[in-house]
């Protein structure tokens, strides 16, 4: 039952993204139309406060629950995959108005047609797995 904490973190994240309307298709459209500050404010302030946490992790001011230092992943300098993959994701994000976490949160909000999107996303991840060796990174 040690994983109950991740269930609780998921519940909290689901409530936050619902109440903040980050799961709203309309909010995503509005963001890409530059007609509201709302989404930029959410992402910007999330990054700002996460930077503070990240700084405290790296300096060792905050340790993990076992009292050990928290290590952060250094991203490989792969720019083709991040740019091309990022652009492909951006197309889908704008069309469906939903990134991976909101897909699950919207199921809870009763938007069951989002299951088709989830099915598509699994096909997409599967296709990447099949092709990963052949793609430039």
């Amino acid at each position: 039952m040690k994983y109950v904490r991740f269930l609780l973190i998921g519940i909290l994240f689901g409530i936050i993204l619902s109440k903040s309307e980050a799961i709203s298709w309309y909010r995503i459209y509005e963001m890409f139309k530059f007609q509201s500050f709302h989404m930029y404010g959410i992402i910007g302030s999330a990054v700002f406060f996460s930077m503070i946490f990240t700084f405290l992790f790296k300096r060792g001011f905050i340790k993990n629950y076992k009292g050990k230092p928290i290590k952060l992943k250094t991203r490989k300098k792969e720019y083709i995959r991040t740019l091309v993959g990022g652009t492909i994701f951006g197309l889908g994000w704008a069309l469906a108005g939903s990134c991976p976490a909101p897909i699950f949160i919207l199921i809870g909000n009763g938007v069951f047609s989002i299951l088709i999107l989830l099915f598509g996303a699994l096909i997409g991840a599967f296709l990447y797995g099949l092709l990963s060796k052949k793609l430039p990174h």
């Binding site: 998921g10 689901g14 999330a46 809870g108 047609s113």
Partner: protein, 186 residues
Amino acid sequence: MDILLQPWPWYVSGPLISVILFLFFYYGKHFGVSSNLETLCTIAGADKFSDYFKKNWRKRDWALFFLTGLIIGGFISNTFLTPYGIDTINPKTIEDLQALGFEYQKNTYVPEELFSLDTILSVKGFLLLIVAGILIGFGTRYADGCTSGHAITGLSNLQLPSLVAVIGFFIGGLIMIWLIFPLLFS
């Protein structure tokens, strides 16, 4: 209590998202959601088709609890925490959407024109969601991260590849909304 039931402003929501990042790292995990799509593929048997999926998903079994939590969180918010509905969007956006054939409806997260039962039972409606899903699944795995893994975790850790990914997110998003939407709808 009442303030909790109103729509949450960005300056409350953003900092709370960083608390989620904190909890992930505190409990020894990296904050990211799109890798779960891979885990679900492995569970569904994708390892029979490609070695890429030959991973021990039991190492990521905790993530299934997280995903279940997301669904429950959405349900709790919808059932108990949204009595006043959802904030309306910019009137200009509503006009722009009308020009594309989208009738804005209050208090919904998603438009009927893409998500109603009638729409998803039509060939175009079904294909749009499947294709959008494929773009999301393929794109996030190719980019090795999504909004949480790159935009939140990567940017806050000053990772240049993550900045490039986020620039990609916006290139794709802007192309879709400004160039492709007028072709798909109207």
